[in-house]
Symmetry: C2
Subunit: 333 residues, 2 copies
Amino acid sequence: MTKRPTSIKDIAREAGVSIATVSRVINGKGRYSSETEERVRKVIRELNYVQNSMAKTLKTNRSNLIGIVVPNITNEFFSQIVQHTQLALLKHGFAAFICNTNEDRELEHIQFNVLQSMNVAGLIYISGLLSLPESLMSIPTVCIDRKPIVDTMRNVSFVESDNLQGARLAMEHLVDRGCKRVACLSPEDQFSTHNIRFDAFSKRAAELGQPMDERNHLIVSRVSYQDAFDIMTDFFEKGGKIDGLFATTDWLAIGAIDAMKAKGIRVPGSVRVIGFGDISSASFRDVPLSTVRQYPEKLADASVEILLEQIKTGHTKEEHTVIPVELIQRQTT
Amino acid sequence: MTKRPTSIKDIAREAGVSIATVSRVINGKGRYSSETEERVRKVIRELNYVQNSMAKTLKTNRSNLIGIVVPNITNEFFSQIVQHTQLALLKHGFAAFICNTNEDRELEHIQFNVLQSMNVAGLIYISGLLSLPESLMSIPTVCIDRKPIVDTMRNVSFVESDNLQGARLAMEHLVDRGCKRVACLSPEDQFSTHNIRFDAFSKRAAELGQPMDERNHLIVSRVSYQDAFDIMTDFFEKGGKIDGLFATTDWLAIGAIDAMKAKGIRVPGSVRVIGFGDISSASFRDVPLSTVRQYPEKLADASVEILLEQIKTGHTKEEHTVIPVELIQRQTT
DNA sequence: GTGAAAGCGCTAACAG
DNA sequence: CTGTTAGCGCTTTCAC
């Protein structure tokens, strides 16, 4: 409807060459004299020509679009991954098509259709519902954070933080700080991440002589400050006694700490608390939170590298990549 | 390179009709018997056909892609706007192409090229650097949050929160709560938002008999927790005396509060503090922050509505839309 | 070294 | 009611 932008045709006419030649200099393929190159480039600059990537994709059947599917861009961890992924892709000449799913199956499905209709060359699937549709079967995919359901048919790799080691470090740190009675706060979760953390923490606790039981495993129905606050309050009101707490994610740790403060329980004086993730709110508190730091940038970079490799070679490496985490001691331990 | 997805041709062959007919039923345009419709739809379903939107765009020169340009998706306020915008667009049959610029001019430029090469039908420009390139001149645009530089040539509308009223409410609230000596904490900012808030606060303060001067206007070089913490600490160490503080954004308020706590100054006992924005960290604290709530969903919805109207009519309304804010009293006042 | 031409998936006249 | 056809911007053989 609107005026068509300047095309290869316009610049061909203006430069007095054929469109084929223009295409050649744009892509640096085939032969052309440096004279014509000069002339063509000049016209391109003058006319502010920008390639129509849709036409190119249509013709070549290879797009430089990568879909990024993410449940909730509002979550700091995810948004950092997304941001870095987009940047990394851009550096490699790929554009990112970012899709929010709000953890909603139907929305996810719609987004997949959009991605398919845009002919994406690959997919980065962050903490998804793992219901990748058949129609996207054949395109290279890397999952981040949540372990995908293994399907041998698919070109899927997996990248995650070292949740196992992180949880172990947390337990060890608590013991180092003198804790004798530790507890763990985690959400009931259908996905892998928190379960891995709890299991690893629990295992290490047992090894260090403080086996967990149901009394010191506090389970919250969602990841929510308020739920953490409430369950913690309840725990102490019922006479619960602990001197160390590991929350499988920072928001839960923060909710728990505020509950303790409200009850007059000193942190770290009476209870030492450590979280997981290192969201910005963790450090921006009057008593900054000790936590296990994740590296969203590294998750992003690794994923992009693997994905592009997959696209280039057409080959799945069936990779599982683990990004190290780091224990950050601040003032709650 | 990869196998081409099923196209209109495939389904035409399978249904025993021409591609034109298939196109007609897909778009619900022109005539076709309900029999053929039935048959075509069946094949479409069976073959999992998804329209190639790039080909469609190429042909019709009208895409259903809207570019969303945002400085930093990691900022909660922005990411909420982006999320809602994408959702709202989807409901209207448009897809969102989200671009991070990291407040970086060069990156912004690259992203604009990508958007142009994708033939976007419109632009939502959130708190941008306002350096919209000529090449995107003609496409409908709505700016959110930061006031764009007016250029009569362009199809630009502007949507923002009622910063003016918000700041006024904050001042009035402080007075209501008994404050006699108020201060304001804001970043030095080349853009409009914070300046508007400070000016409005300052003006209302004067009207209410507490004129501001340079001593009670604390200016921080960036929006940063640490900077707020430091400047506040410094303020009290130099013997500053106030009983009320308005920070033009929540993170600054939070930094200031923690500084006061560290100095043994009670909030709200000695100083009442109010922020602006209502980020999630504002309510998730041991002493939840009073603040002026913004409505990112409403900013998003209004922007989408205006943009789509502009696209549909091809007509700029040169609109300036103001979304109301609300004072949320929590426990820091 | 360069141009002509075909065709990617799709829509929109135009014929029938 | 349906089919044929041109052409969107681009790449890529194939001639010259």
